[in-house]
Structure formats: structure tokens, C-alpha cells
């Protein structure tokens, strides 16, 4: 990624402390991205749809954890694409432009360019990409069209309590630190996430993955196999050329001479 993009990288800062679980973000996302409603049922929790879906780019996770003070602690966490700097999905995607980096640093997708291979799904450390009925990748794109026009992502725009903030990534991080949040999740993970979380508690309490990583096979493939396939071919061609020039092809005459 070019330096100026890193410098101007935008991000969403999620502050679960401020989230009231009203889920206006879920609706605003659907509204802007024109996503259909999903037929769900109540599974004994407020959380619905149960997880991200091709038509649900973000959800609020509701979890009840023990509390010393109260009967329970009820946690609300916005789950969505992390827009990783080192994005497993982008690395593994075989179709150019299907997953791409916007000028603001978002990992966006192009429905038409997706070849439905689903490799991205399996390379994502956060289990984010989903596939729609047409088998095309579908996930949060940080409202690339809105932020490209200098508007806030739809979810951020609607959030009443500032649990979602959008802005310059570095500024968001330093502001959150100044406010005294113990952990800025995603500050450095995977080269720095584009969705960062400010936690007072341990991120694990909210069910966040500790030290997220791209699957090692993908890293191995990306770091070694990909170059090897190129250098391997190049090497063979070079060796053949060298052989042809230095030793040359098999010659009947020489053999004859020898036989004689």
C-alpha cells in the first residue's frame, strides 16, 4: 500500500462501552446498502441475525457475562469487517479487483468481479466474508461510496451514542488512548486494522480473538509458493537457455564421430 494511503487511512473506532444495543447501525447499513431482510427466528437472544450474513454486514453481539456488582453484565459489541491492513481475503483472492483497497484504506468488494471461489472466506481470521445467493462475496465495505464522497459510513452516521466513530485512523487511536482505554484492539494486529476497538476490559471478555492471524498456510503460500512458482519457471527457462548456449542440443554428428 502506498505511503500516502497509510497516512490518510480512515477507520471506524468501536467503543462498546458507549454502545446501547439499539441496533440502529444494523438498519442503517441495510438501508444504505439496500440489503434484503433475512427471515430469522428468535433463538432466545436479542442477537439477530445470529451472525454476519450476506445481507447483514454488521451485527451487534449481545453477551451476558458474570458481574460482581449486578446480576449480570450485558455486553454489546459491533461485529463487522475489520478492514485489515494485511488482509487475508485480499491476499488469497485470485480475481483481480474482486476485493480491493480503497483510497481510504477500506477493503471493498466488486460483486461483478468476484469469481465465487470462496477462498477469502477461509483466509479471513475473523470469519467475515459471506456469499450471497449468486455466490458472490458480500461484506462491509466501509460504505466505500459514502466515504469516497466524504460522508460517514451509514452505521456511524446513525449511531446515537458515539459507539461508532469514523475518521482518521491515527487520530481515532490517539483520542481513544487519551480517553484512557486500556486496549486499542487492532492498533497493530495484522498490520493494523481498519476497524479498531477501544476496550476498558480485556477484549476476550467481548469474545474478540486474541492475536488474530491469517492462516499459516496462506502466509506460507503467499511468502514462498507464489514467488517460487514465478522464479521456478524463470529459473527453468534461464537454465534451458544457458544449456542451449553453453552445451547445445544433442548432435548426431558428434555421436557418429564418437562411434567411429
Amino acid at each position: 500500500m502506498a505511503n500516502d494511503i497509510t497516512k490518510n487511512r480512515k477507520a471506524i473506532l468501536v467503543t462498546p462501552e458507549n454502545c446501547i444495543g439499539c441496533r440502529a447501525c444494523q438498519v442503517a447499513c441495510k438501508s444504505w446498502n439496500q440489503l434484503p431482510g433475512i427471515k430469522t427466528k428468535n433463538n432466545g437472544t436479542y442477537q439477530n441475525p445470529p451472525d454476519l450474513a450476506s445481507a447483514a454486514f454488521n451485527i451487534i453481539k449481545f453477551s451476558e457475562v458474570p458481574s460482581q456488582e449486578n446480576p449480570v453484565r450485558w455486553l454489546f459489541l459491533s461485529r463487522r469487517c475489520m478492514h485489515c491492513e494485511d488482509a487475508g481475503c485480499m491476499a488469497i483472492c485470485p480475481a483481480p479487483g474482486a476485493l480491493y483497497r480503497t483510497a481510504e484504506g477500506a477493503v471493498a468488494f466488486d460483486h461483478d468481479k468476484c469469481i465465487s471461489c470462496k477462498l477469502c472466506v477461509n483466509a479471513c481470521p475473523f470469519d467475515v466474508p459471506r456469499f450471497d445467493e449468486e455466490g458472490k462475496v458480500s461484506k462491509c465495505n466501509l460504505c466505500a461510496d459514502r466515504i469516497g464522497a466524504e460522508m460517514q459510513p451509514s452505521c456511524v452516521k446513525t449511531c446515537p451514542t458515539g459507539a461508532l466513530k469514523f475518521g482518521d485512523r491515527n487520530e481515532l487511536i490517539s483520542a481513544a488512548k487519551k480517553e484512557g482505554f486500556a486496549t486499542i484492539y487492532g492498533e497493530n494486529d495484522l498490520g493494523g486494522l481498519g476497524t479498531i476497538y477501544a476496550f476498558k476490559d480485556k477484549p476476550k471478555l467481548y469474545g474478540m480473538i486474541e492475536n488474530p492471524t491469517i492462516p499459516s498456510s496462506v502466509i506460507f503460500w503467499h511468502s514462498y509458493l507464489k514467488p517460487l512458482s514465478l522464479f521456478g519457471l524463470g529459473g527453468v527457462v534461464a537454465a534451458a537457455a544457458l544449456h542451449y548456449l553453453a552445451i547445445g542440443p544433442h548432435k548426431e554428428e558428434e555421436e557418429k564421430k564418437e562411434e567411429v
Binding site: 488469497i92 485470485p94 480475481a95 483481480p96 474482486a98 468481479k113 469469481i115 465465487s116 471461489c117 470462496k118 477462498l119 472466506v121 477461509n122 483466509a123 492462516p215 498456510s217 496462506v218 506460507f220 503460500w221 509458493l225 507464489k226 517460487l228 512458482s229 514465478l230 521456478g232 519457471l233 529459473g235 527453468v236 527457462v237 534451458a240 544449456h243 542451449y244 552445451i247 547445445g248 542440443p249 544433442h250 548432435k251 548426431e252 558428434e254 555421436e255 564418437e258
Partner: protein
């Protein structure tokens, strides 16, 4: 006109071309996926079509590969002392001065090459099918992806060597791949043990 001897049957030649063609196209499209070569994608009408082409070429390739066992497998599994000696002199490719031992229909380099292609061909096909059909199983998908790419590396190294040796490095060899026949005189020199076995001596 010199007396000719048939080295390859017609179906062998046809199958070899199918195998070779699908393999090369698979490699080209494979590279296009790996390095996002959009020009290759455009030739095939975009990456979506290219994916379909790649997948079905894979089917063609593996069927052709399995069929080729009829032609090559038996030979590829038989080795003798001369074959051992052949390796010692590196098939005579590193120097034209060394004495290359008498060979059968195929030299051990070709035979081993075939085994490599057969094994990795099956591996790349199975892993390809894994990526194609097991999209929702993360373990299968990731292992398939890795294996497919390892096999790909083998192919991109082995296949060009084979092509070089079958063309520029051994002038005249390419003609056999077209006609299936070679001059008996030449065959006597290059494949004395084979000629002997077919009783043309």
C-alpha cells in the same frame, strides 16, 4: 525414404496433445489467478469465465492423465542397470562427450518425469476439486489451496524442462510427437534396447 518405425500410437499422440494442451492452459490460467494477470483474463472473457475454463480444463487434464497410464505407466516403472548409468552421465545432457548407455523406449529421465507428472497431476486435480467443491470446509479448502499451489510449483518447473528437452535440446524429437514415427536408423541409435525388444534388429 528412410524406413520408419512407429513409436507412438495415434491415440497416444492425440492424448498426449490433450494432456499437453490442457496442462499448458491450466498453467497459464493458474498464473493469471496467482498474479492477477488481467490481460489473460480478458482473453478468456473475464476471470469468471476463466475460472470455469480452468476448472473444466482440470477435468480434461486429469482424465487425459489417467488415460495416459495405458501408454506410459508400465515403462515408467521398469528400470535396469543402464538406467542407473544414465543418471550417472546425466543423460549426456551436461556433456556431449560422455558415453550414454543404451536406452529402451524411454530414458529414465522421461520415465521419472512421467511419474512426477502422474503423481502431482493427481494431487493437483484432487486439490483442485477440493477448492472447487469443498468451499464450506475451511480445513479442506486451505489444505487444498496449499497443495494445489505446491503441485503447481512442481508443474511450472517440470513441464518447461520436458518441453525444452522434447524440442530444442533434442532436435527431431518434436516430429515424433506429430507423426508418432521416427526413422528406424535413428531409433536403433537412440533406443537400441527397444528396437531389440520389438525384433527389428
Amino acid at each position: 525414404m528412410a524406413e520408419m518405425i512407429r513409436k507412438s500410437s495415434v491415440d497416444e499422440i492425440v492424448n498426449h496433445w490433450i494432456l499437453a494442451g490442457s496442462c499448458i492452459l491450466l498453467m497459464i490460467t493458474g498464473y493469471a489467478f496467482l498474479f492477477h494477470v488481467e490481460s489473460i483474463g480478458s482473453v478468456l472473457g473475464g476471470f469468471n469465465t476463466m475460472k470455469t475454463v480452468h476448472n473444466w480444463l482440470g477435468v480434461v487434464f486429469v482424465l487425459s492423465l489417467l488415460y495416459s497410464m495405458r501408454h506410459y505407466l508400465r515403462d515408467a516403472l521398469e528400470y535396469d542397470a543402464d538406467d542407473k548409468q544414465w543418471f550417472k552421465v546425466a543423460g549426456g545432457y551436461l556433456s556431449h562427450k560422455v558415453k550414454v548407455p543404451p536406452m529402451g523406449k524411454y530414458n529414465p529421465g522421461q520415465k521419472l518425469y512421467y511419474l512426477v507428472i502422474l503423481v502431482f497431476g493427481i494431487v493437483i486435480a484432487i486439490s483442485g476439486f477440493g477448492i472447487w467443491f469443498m468451499k464450506d470446509n475451511m480445513t479442506v479448502m486451505l489444505i487444498s489451496h496449499l497443495v494445489h499451489n505446491i503441485a503447481f510449483c512442481v508443474f511450472v518447473i517440470a513441464v518447461p524442462v520436458h518441453i525444452y528437452l522434447g524440442t530444442l535440446a533434442n532436435p527431431g524429437t518434436f516430429k515424433i510427437m506429430v507423426s508418432g514415427t521416427m526413422p528406424l536408423s535413428e531409433a536403433k541409435k537412440k533406443h537400441p534396447k527397444w528396437i531389440k525388444s520389438v525384433g527389428k534388429v
